[in-house]
């Protein structure tokens, strides 16, 4: 790279700084993101504005390039890690200032599946898009999902499976939700490498999400529609 000079973040104006944050998120530079978030807060940006304009804006670019096969998992994990650094600063401030909520998701990998790479990506990208995410981790029996749904009252339930041997368990969870009469209370999104749209439909999910970027787009879309229905 020809640009060898160190960039002094605090010397950039707001617009340049946000552009620089997009680049730094793309490159997964956590400390730089933390520094830039603090600079914007010192310049009296609302925490919600820092989140949406700088962090979510930057992660949207990362998500689009991931979706298009330009970035792959390692780069996205680094970007999400940098985003997390910024979020850690903003989170308490967002709560204190009563910032609007995009939506809430409970997510977990189903029983028998310890593959959490995809699930973590979805978690991070959802947080990157401003959602509140409750991550149940790996190997979740149906009871874990039910308990979390009752306690957290999320808009979305996300399930992930990466193995042929664990995919059918998603149906077990959805069937249980139907039996208990709570299926319609939640948007159910499923994902994982062996899955496809048809499978998602067959087991009764609202949508199958091919990757984390699609998960975010789908979540925004469906939550938006749900809120519209409630307001109608």
């Amino acid at each position: 790279m020809s640009e060898e000079d160190d960039i002094i973040l605090s010397e950039l104006d707001d617009e340049e700084l946000v552009q620089q944050m997009f680049d730094d998120l793309y490159d997964g530079l956590k400390e730089e993101i933390e520094e830039a978030v603090n600079i914007l807060l010192e310049r009296e940006w609302e925490p919600y504005r820092v989140l949406t304009e700088a962090l979510v804006g930057g992660m949207t670019i990362v998500g689009a390039d991931f979706r298009d096969g330009i970035l792959f998992v390692p780069e996205v994990l680094l970007a999400a890690n940098a985003m997390k650094g910024g979020m850690a600063i903003l989170k308490p401030l967002l709560a204190a200032t009563g910032a609007p909520r995009v939506g809430k998701m409970v997510i977990g990998t189903v029983k028998g599946d310890i593959h959490d790479i995809g699930k973590n990506l979805v978690s991070m990208m959802m947080e990157g898009a401003g959602f509140e995410v409750v991550d149940l981790g790996i190997n979740n029996p149906v009871e874990n999902y039910l308990e979390a749904l009752e306690k957290e009252e999320p808009d979305i339930l996300g399930m992930s499976a990466l193995l042929t041997t664990t995919m059918p368990y998603m149906k077990v969870v959805i069937d249980t939700l139907v039996e208990q009469g709570v299926r319609e209370d939640y948007i159910v999104l499923v994902g994982g490498a062996p899955l496809n749209e048809e499978f998602g439909k067959a087991i009764g999910a609202d949508a199958y999400c091919r990757d984390a970027a699609v998960a975010v787009e789908t979540a925004k879309d469906l939550v938006g529609r749900k809120h519209n229905q409630l307001n109608a």
């Binding site: 400390e31 390692p74 790479i117 995919m167």
Partner: protein, 338 residues
């Protein structure tokens, strides 16, 4: 070069491997979410049946029921401490079936991914990964596996760690990766990258290739990518029998036996030497594949259009190796931490 696979590779110009493990075990009553490896102890007759189905339908080589048999995976079932013995059992059962086959059949000790992300992006260190793979390798060796068979790997770091572990166990091996993301592995590796990595290893595998992924067409495109590198090392093609569908409470793959027969012949024409199936590949598929490989003549290397016209469309426009790829956008000033 005294191992069974090297010998078979010198006397044969194609070798048929096996099909699905998980899909077959479900049909035998495995519940979703349970560890298949525990059946090596609890249901040995069913595991032998699984192996026999492959052998009886023409497989020259089958993989042991130990894909998730490393401590990182088994810990989920509170059996992390049993990696070595469950892997040993998987190989022992395989040895029994292979020795009773009445012809040369190779027991390949399956080693799947740890499921963890390696440093620097993730938490798993190289040393820990080597230890995890080494433990399983020793178990498979004790049980009598002819070769070790690394599969469904997506990170080059993990492939290298396994290679190092197999050297410690002093075992010959084969290693395949899963190319399921726009023609690359989940971690972004292309077929071309894989060939370069394989050839740079101090203890390279007897064969390398692709397994699982998104469908037979994509897998063959990857095999063409390997072959284009022009190395002599045998190539493995183990593709899924189509796309998974949910039918009557079970996962069903939509590829027919006839289609898998076509796939097998095309895989050979693409340059693969060791040919098998992966998820959804049932005994009837293997049977059709064997027949096709035995009765059909070799043909010229198929074009991408010929592959899609027989096996269906690709899941992505490119495979990450060509000029038609979306270019990485130029960053204004990519920074490096000093």
């Amino acid at each position: 070069m005294s191992n069974a696979l090297s010998k078979m590779l010198t006397s044969r110009d194609w070798i048929m491997a096996d099909g699905a493990t998980g899909t077959n075990l479900f049909n035998m009553g495995l519940s979703s979410g349970d560890a298949p490896e525990l059946w090596n102890e609890q249901e040995p007759a069913k595991i032998k049946k699984l192996y026999s189905l492959a052998v009886d339908n023409g497989s020259d080589l089958f993989l042991t029921n130990s894909f998730g048999g490393n401590s990182a995976r088994l810990k989920l079932h509170d059996a992390g401490h049993r990696a070595r013995e469950l892997s040993r059992m998987a190989a022992e059962l395989g040895r029994d079936v292979a020795d009773a086959a009445g012809r040369d059949v190779i027991v390949a000790g399956s080693v799947g991914p740890t499921g963890e992300i390696m440093q620097p992006v993730g938490a798993l260190s190289h040393a820990d990964a080597v230890e995890i793979f080494h433990e399983q390798a020793e178990g498979l060796k004790e049980g009598g596996a002819d070769v070790l068979w690394l599969e469904t790997i997506s990170a080059p770091e993990e492939y290298r760690a396994a290679a190092e572990a197999f050297a410690l166990a002093d075992m010959p091996w084969v290693g395949t990766m899963s190319f399921d993301t726009a023609g690359r592995t989940m971690m972004g590796m292309t077929s071309q990258d894989m060939v370069q990595m394989v050839e740079s290893l101090p203890n390279p595998p007897l064969g390398y290739g692709a397994n699982c992924g998104t469908g037979a067409s994509d897998l063959l495109r990857t095999v063409l990518g390997f072959a284009a590198q022009g190395t002599e090392r045998p190539i493995v093609a183990k593709g899924n029998a189509g796309i998974p569908k949910y039918v009557d409470g079970h996962i069903h793959y939509d590829g027919t036996p006839e289609l898998m027969g076509e796939y097998a012949v095309m895989a050979r024409d693409c340059g693969a030497t060791i040919i098998g199936g992966c998820c959804g590949t049932m005994p009837e598929h293997l049977n059709a594949m064997r027949k096709a490989l035995e009765t059909r003549d070799r043909g010229p290397r198929p074009t991408l259009d010929q592959i899609t016209s027989v096996l269906g469309p690709f899941s992505s426009a490119g495979d990450g190796t060509g000029d038609d790829e979306p270019a990485t956008p130029a960053r204004r000033n990519r920074r490096r931490r000093s």
